[in-house]
């Protein structure tokens, strides 16, 4: 048996209070938690009420978001500013889990805030370590400014990582318009990779993900 030393709050999140005095106390005593990729859960908890003032998110198909274990959420983007926030809010509301967003800059002024709020640089190696650690990772596709209901190609390397680790891929269509407040997050059925890991073709899987995203977007347009 291995005994791991840790605070009780770190082992049981129910013991951790999220009210303002508790957040401030943890901040001034250094007891807040920052993980290896830079996510600061207390900072996220403090920012969520502000995000709710800015965005109103309706989630459809959210029963597909896993409560435990890793998943790669491949989502569409129009301009790419509100979409990661909308997906993150939907995931947090449904599962209470933080969303890791791939694609923040590795240096510069946005790097600090981005990583504290759950972002990671767009790097296949970091994607692999995040998925192995059981995290939910959002991967934004190419921007579609002129054709928002068109699903762009899904990059193969991240799909290859998910396939190798047997991690499910969730297609997520994000529909809305900057600077409007209302956004709709449509989560499709996951593409299960566990059984395909030995023989699967990542290019084929990437195309299957794109096709599922296209169906979600077409449905959103009709609906």
């Amino acid at each position: 048996m291995t005994v791991v030393e840790a605070d009780l709050e770190a082992l049981d999140p129910d013991l951790e209070r999220d009210d303002l005095p508790a957040l401030v106390y943890r901040r001034v005593t250094g007891r807040h938690q920052v993980d290896e990729w830079g996510l600061d859960r207390d900072l996220v908890a403090a920012v969520v009420p502000l995000a709710r003032l800015r965005w109103s998110v309706r989630a459809e198909g959210d029963q597909h978001i896993p409560e435990i274990g890793p998943a790669l959420l491949v989502h569409t983007r129009r301009l790419g500013i509100s979409e990661p926030a909308a997906v993150g809010m939907a995931v947090r509301r449904v599962t209470g889990r933080p969303l890791r967003v791939a694609g923040v800059p590795s240096r510069g002024p946005l790097a600090w805030s981005g990583r504290r709020l759950g972002g990671v640089p767009s790097n296949v190696d970091d994607l692999r370590s995040l998925l192995r650690a059981g995290e939910l990772v959002a991967l934004g596709l190419g921007r579609e400014l002129l054709h928002p209901y068109h699903a762009p190609p899904v990059p193969v390397p991240p799909v290859e990582v998910a396939l190798a680790l047997g991690v499910p891929i969730l297609p997520v269509a994000v529909v809305g318009m900057e600077p409007a407040r209302r956004w709709v997050v449509r989560v499709g059925q996951p593409l299960v990779t566990r059984r395909r890991a030995a023989t699967g073709d990542p290019t084929e899987l990437a195309e299957a993900t794109r096709a599922r995203l296209q169906r979600l977007l077409t449905g959103a347009r009709r609906g």
Partner: protein, 320 residues
């Protein structure tokens, strides 16, 4: 099993020698280092400067080890100045590995490396696993890469498995570490605009990984990292120190101040403070059968729980 430990005078080497001495499968433990071991141990020890190549070679050939545990990797400002550390590591590695191979009985190599080997170049992964190609960006990282290369070549030569244990920065009570000394200063400068997270490893977890690697050889690198992370400012607050936000030009003053305070800041620690340092150690259990039991925040707390030295006067004894 005849085990040679280079760098046996350090905390890790001494701990390992004591643990191996209690193992019935180990018939002899032989150690070399510039400093004597820190505690009594059951092995044979020779005090020799790793730069003394002839003496190192003669001693190792005479012992003819089956297992080489190469801990003679000197971190700048831990026990040596950066220049001495680089020389001792480079010359000592080549001398020890060559002599161990020439002795003709070597069937296993375990080498102390570090996650500094991955470097922190722009675009480098934040949390690299063992599949990431080493690309060091600090002198200590390059030292480690050289050590791994020499050991891997030797392993290929004698067809022996080489386990490269890539440790997170080692920190703990009574452990000579430039990062530990820096974080224990009364005021701790940290990167004001980034304050990136880093992970550390307790010396006991490192010793347990070394022992496991000796007993269960694995051919390849293994990251050994304490779970979790802290930032420099958070660490200062945990130790009730004053965190001092610092931006680029301020690091010059911070380095000067920390050197004056007896905690000189080598390049790889400055890199850790400004760009962060962590690695994915999730495969250690699968590859070695052990995993670190102390989280990074608890290691940092233990660093501050280390009591100050209290000077007491000896009781007066009257002559009869």
């Amino acid at each position: 099993m005849r085990v040679l430990i280079t760098g046996m005078g350090g905390e890790l080497g001494t701990r390992l020698a004591i643990q191996l001495g209690a193992d019935p499968a180990v018939t002899a433990v032989f150690g070399l280092d510039i400093d004597p071991p820190r505690r009594r141990h059951p092995g044979e020890f020779h005090r020799v400067d790793p730069r003394d190549r002839d003496r190192t070679t003669a001693l190792i050939r005479g012992f003819a080890p089956n297992v080489l545990v190469h801990l003679g990797v000197y971190e700048p400002y831990a026990r040596s100045s950066p220049r001495s550390a680089a020389e001792r590591t480079a010359v000592g590695t080549v001398a020890a590995v060559t002599a161990a191979v020439d002795a003709g009985h070597l069937d296993r190599i375990v080498v102390r490396s570090g996650i500094e080997i991955y470097g922190r170049r722009r675009g480098a992964p934040v949390h690299p696993d063992e599949e990431v190609r080493p690309d060091p960006t600090s002198p200590f990282g390059r030292q480690l890469l050289h050590v791994e290369r020499v050991c891997n070549e030797a392993g290929l030569h004698v067809a022996a498995p080489v386990t490269s244990l890539r440790f997170a920065p080692l920190v703990g009570p009574h452990f000579p570490s430039p990062l530990g000394r820096y974080l224990r200063m009364p005021a701790v400068p940290f990167a004001g605009l980034a304050d990136p997270p880093f992970s550390v490893l307790h010396q006991e977890d490192a010793a347990a990984a070394l022992l496991a690697a000796v007993r269960r050889p694995f051919d390849g690198p293994v990251n050994v990292v304490g779970p979790g992370a802290v930032t420099a400012s958070q660490s200062a607050l945990l130790g009730r120190r004053v965190p001092v936000p610092t931006v680029v030009p301020g690091w010059w003053a911070a380095r000067w101040f920390s050197e004056l305070a007896g905690a000189p800041l080598p390049d790889h620690v400055l890199e850790l403070l400004t760009r962060g340092r962590s690695a994915d150690g999730s495969r250690a259990e699968e590859r070695l059968g052990v995993r670190p039991t102390r989280s990074t925040p608890s290691v940092i707390r233990s660093l501050y729980a280390w009591d100050e030295v209290v000077v007491t006067t000896a009781p007066q004894v009257e002559a009869a």
